[in-house]
Assembly symmetry: C2
Homo-oligomer: 265 residues x 2
């Protein structure tokens, strides 16, 4: 598989009025993402409300997405679970149903680094597709250092990606890439740092932003070498982004202005 | 079914060295509880690590327990889940497999009272066995008032029980019974307030205490009318109970001594 890159949208799971998974809407939504040029689809993440689905519903969502996408872009399946064995069960099922990779955050409140490494090792041993480590301290209550993320890559052969969600993400990208030459980093946080993330070395973003075409245009402009144009486009669209608030971003205390200052950016 | 009462032990789930559910040990453990005179068994609770089990493993535990108990005591099955539909799925499965009742805590962080009521209504509508509302603010981050618990009983026909875990539980028992004449309350918190809970009107305790025979003796002595003897027995065993600490009990700031003072007790 080509390395994950560009815009890997994190998808919602559509439901009918009575709470069932809405498969026709899931097909429409998947086609909408593809029509807007996404480079990958991440299903059953936090945004996909995966923890509110039964195992049968999880399988429905994976199967329907795989059938609709027909190999046009990689599909990453969220397999986070409160325990290792459930995560392994999710991971094996995802691989069997055609996932290109899985995404796993640590279990809620699991803060012992050896236990985190063991968790990923056990999952990694059970599958042969790559693992995206979801670094999402706000939801998991688990803050992983750049050193730990690099350690995960060294200790678990299929850990290849970090999906970064600890704000401010640009600084952490530099920290991680100082620890590892080979990890591939995807940004997050609704795209509010997307330009800065690219500048710091991210390979793209994996986020639930509702207008993937906007992110795609910034990405294409940036990777074609027109950095200044990409920067103008980004700041024209994201300066007043409503998600750029301290509460939304956990312990973020940097405004975008800081990143434009020489000290940070 | 006779009202739940006495010692309804919350069970652990035994695992083999390689992390599988250990069914022979589960049988041994179930027989140990029965030999020690428990009046009910609550399986797949927080102590049973239910959130680390696959759906298939949940079913294994329920089936094995039902087969071993053979109707000698009621079996209450924990069906807490992060979403309503998963909880309904667990609840229907538990009922089909022979559960006498289910126990459900609110989903993590669900603090909107109307949403909590709706959650229990949807579950209640899906089954015909009683619901034990697990009031466990430390794990769920959801604190339910006595008024809300009474409201749940009025709005959901099969909500009959509260398993109380908000420390200090004796005070809350009085608050709840001031709001409802018909709710049946079971204490918790490792039995550290068990005597006080009985004095306040609890019908028994539902807790994961490892020596159910001790609690049973206190309960039998108390209900036979020998309150002073039960009190002496309780305080001789529980005064220095290691779990009676502020951290274990969340926002508990009352020592046992307070309860012996006239003001509280």
């Amino acid at each position: 598989m080509e390395k994950l890159h560009g815009i890997c949208t994190i998808t919602i799971t559509p439901f009918t009025e009575d709470g069932q998974v809405d498969l026709p809407s899931l097909r429409n939504l998947t086609n909408f993402y593809l029509d807007n040029g996404v480079d990958g689809l991440t299903i059953l993440g936090i945004m996909g409300e995966s923890n509110k689905l039964t195992e049968a519903e999880r399988m429905q969502v994976i199967k329907e997405t795989v059938t609709t996408v027909q190999g046009r872009v990689p599909i990453i399946v969220g397999c986070t679970a409160p325990g290792t064995d459930v995560a392994i069960h999710y991971a094996k099922t995802a691989e069997q149903l055609g996932a290109s990779a899985i995404m796993v955050a640590p279990p809620l409140n699991l803060r012992n680094e050896q236990a985190i490494i063991h968790h990923y090792q056990m999952i990694g041993d059970a599958i042969s597709i790559p693992i995206v480590v979801q670094d999402e301290p706000v939801t998991t209550n688990v803050t992983m250092s750049a050193k730990l993320l690099a350690q995960l890559e060294r200790d678990v052969s299929n850990v290849e990606y970090i999906k970064l969600e600890e704000a401010p993400s640009p600084i952490k990208i530099t920290q991680i890439l100082n620890e590892s030459d080979s990890l591939t980093i995807l940004g997050g946080l609704g795209g509010v740092y997307f330009y800065e993330e690219l500048e710091r070395g991210a390979n793209g973003t994996m986020t639930g932003f509702a207008y993937p075409d906007v992110l795609k245009e910034i990405y294409q402009t940036y990777t074609s070498g027109e950095k200044e144009k990409a920067q103008r486009l980004f700041f024209s669209l994201f300066t007043s982004h409503p998600f750029r608030s301290p509460t939304r971003h956990g312990r973020c205390d940097h405004s975008k202005r800081n990143f434009q200052d020489a000290e940070y950016y």
